[in-house]
């Protein structure tokens, strides 16, 4: 159904456009002395909302351990397929070897990243955070493929309550002479 819009009837004076033009001129003139909104960007950073989704980064825990265990869920969930993880086993001589896996490399292609934050949301280890960096720049494409070290540097330290490192080692049951755990469940 078409609708006929009633156009306003203009007086001759109005039809010269002059009143509108004059009004416009007055309007723009009025703005000249008004307060400015400009933010002096590099010196003056915009106050970002806490949930701002900037560049995704990897974080370490306060003891300097890489939290990522390369479960590759972020790689799976990433809509533009910007994440690539190469997993590896952690060396057996580290004190918290119960966390058996870590990323050998962790690449986020910042040119592909759409800052959707799914990776942060999906991460079961709270190892990936979208920090507030939004000015990601580089001279080459390769430069913008952020590798593990770069991501960790950007991410810094993030405290958490993930229990995975806490491990009271059990004596290896590798020989018949190993102690038998009698008194099931008794503490100590």
């Amino acid at each position: 159904m078409t609708m006929q819009v009633e156009r306003p009837k203009l007086t001759i004076w109005e039809r010269t456009y002059l009143p509108q033009i004059l009004h416009g001129l007055w309007l723009t003139l009025k703005h000249i002395p008004q307060r400015k909104f400009t933010r002096q960007y590099p010196e003056e950073k915009p106050p970002l909302h806490g949930a701002y989704r900037g560049a995704p980064t990897l974080v370490k825990d306060p003891e300097g351990r890489v939290k990522c265990v390369s479960c590759q869920l972020c790689e799976f969930v990433c809509p533009p397929k910007a994440i690539r993880i190469t997993p590896r086993a952690r060396p057996e001589d580290v004190p918290d070897a119960n966390v058996e896996k870590e990323p050998e490399d962790f690449v986020i292609d910042m040119l592909r990243c759409i800052y959707c934050g799914y990776c942060e949301e999906v991460c079961p280890e709270e190892a990936i955070f979208l920090k507030q960096d939004f000015a990601i720049a580089g001279y080459t494409r390769e430069e913008l493929r952020f590798h593990k070290e770069k991501l960790l540097e950007l991410g810094g330290v993030q405290p958490d309550s993930i229990w995975k490192w806490k491990f009271k080692g059990a004596p290896p049951l590798d020989a018949p002479g190993a102690p038998k755990r009698e008194g099931a469940g008794r503490k100590g």
């Binding site: 018949p176 002479g177 102690p179 038998k180 009698e182 008194g183 099931a184 469940g185």
Partner: protein, 603 residues
Amino acid sequence: MALNVPTELEQHIDEVITHYPQQHKRAAVLWLLHLLQEHFGHLGKEQVEWTATKLGLQPINVWELITFYPMFTAKPRGKFHIKVCRTLSCELCGCGGILERLQRKLGVKPDENTSDGLFTISTVECLAACGTGPVMMVNDELFENLTPDKAEAIINRIKTTGKLEPQPLPPVLPAHPLEKRVLLANMSKPGYKGAIEDYIREGGYKALPKALGMKPEEIVAEVKNSGVRGRGGAGFPCGMKWSFLAKGAGQPIYLVCNADESEPGTFKDRQLLHYDPHQLIEGILVSCYAVGAHAAYIYIRGEMPYGAKILIRAIEEARARNFLGKNILRKGFDCEIFVHRGAGAYICGEETGLIESLEGKRAYPRIKPPFPAVVGLFGCPTVVNNVETLSNIPHIINNGAAWFRGMGVPGSTGTRLVCVSGPVKRPGYYEFEMGKLTMRQLIYDLCGGLQEGRQLKGVVPGGSSMPVLKADQIDVALDFESLRKAGTMAGSGGVIVLDDTVDIVQSTLNVAQFYAHESCGQCTPCREGTLWMEKMLHRVKHGHGRPEDVDLLWDVADNVDGKTICPLGEAVAWPVKAFVTKYRGEFEKACKKNGKEATDEHR
């Protein structure tokens, strides 16, 4: 194979192997391990591999057993292994003090060896001498009615003499007027030592020739007619069990006597085995004839080494008089009885767990069906009966079913052995006609009431796996039906009395600890649920409870209840549920005690 096994020991071992069918010689493994441990002190790699080779097994099969049965140890222990019972009855009588004193005295923690290599202290689960608690065993010797001072004196004595003196059997308790002793009748007579001469003098081995003169079906009918129900715990009619046997499949039939008396609070079989073994042997022989078995095994607890010796001696005595062996009493019936020692696992009291254990495996109860009566020991039809049940058989044959039915009440015929432990004046074993006494009479008349100044709080009527009765519920007749109606069960007849000084939370913890330790670990709910309950109760007991823990405890118990392969699930769920329901206030108080959040230490 570097292991140096003396010829004598090896001969003994070879002899033991002949007790079991050739293709199932693996069944001898527990005996072998007992013998090797006695000789070497522990069971290390060499012993494991020697045993495996000897029995044609993989070493893992043997190692599985060593880690399953707590009596075996892979690392050397002290020359004197002190085992202090920590289970409910002993705890009620103060075993904690003894353990503490011994630890202080010897300067070691449980499962540590003293520096001189003489002593190791362990806590163990129930030594089946609850009436004389607290008890401890040093190597094979049982010390009863201990106090910390007595325990210390025993240690001092061992230290000074350097050896362990054999402990005499305590005297049999005299009968109370309200009792009616049938099974205990012989041993109550003065001068009765349990030897075959004594037994025959008191009219023993009369039932055997009589039975051999009857047709097996007649005996089964007689037993069925007598209405005797299993005394092990479940109370299944014995005659009916016998009639389920799958006969005629060309396979041998086995009879297994369940002497693995491990239900906390129960110590009746101990008396029957130690004081009157021939009564049992005659019962077994008659039963074997009735069910058509030519071999019977008595599976006796590992913690009753003396009982095993008595039984072996009794079997030899019986064999000497041709009550046993080939062509018994020239009636053309062959029957052998073998003693099989367990090694400390409550689960071996469950009949299929017992069969597995007897076959030389971890005592993992089997899924049913098939029932043992169809596929049992070594894949053959098998009857498993309790010591007390079998001990009743000669009396039924001698006096007839009608006589037996004349005792007790309909549905619960005959007499019952009941063991009372806990803070009563006269703990011990009593035999009376079923249903003719109430719990109140038992506690206040037979046992002389509670110790001075104590009030009754509750009573566990049939071993620790049965739901508790509160103090106002004790006017219940002691028979299967009445107890069932009261919401509990007659169980194994182990009555544990709880007085007003008892901390119910601690008692529940003790019970849960027992079942967590004794869970075989085969099926999920029991394996995980028991330990969870123990941990939770431990937390609550130590002041880190949360208000929701009371319901959680009940719900966890409920999730175990009835979901397991064997009745151990119920055995832990029932008492916990009953304690929580009936003494909810105490739990709520414990959970609120100081409102502290659970700390890492108790997580």
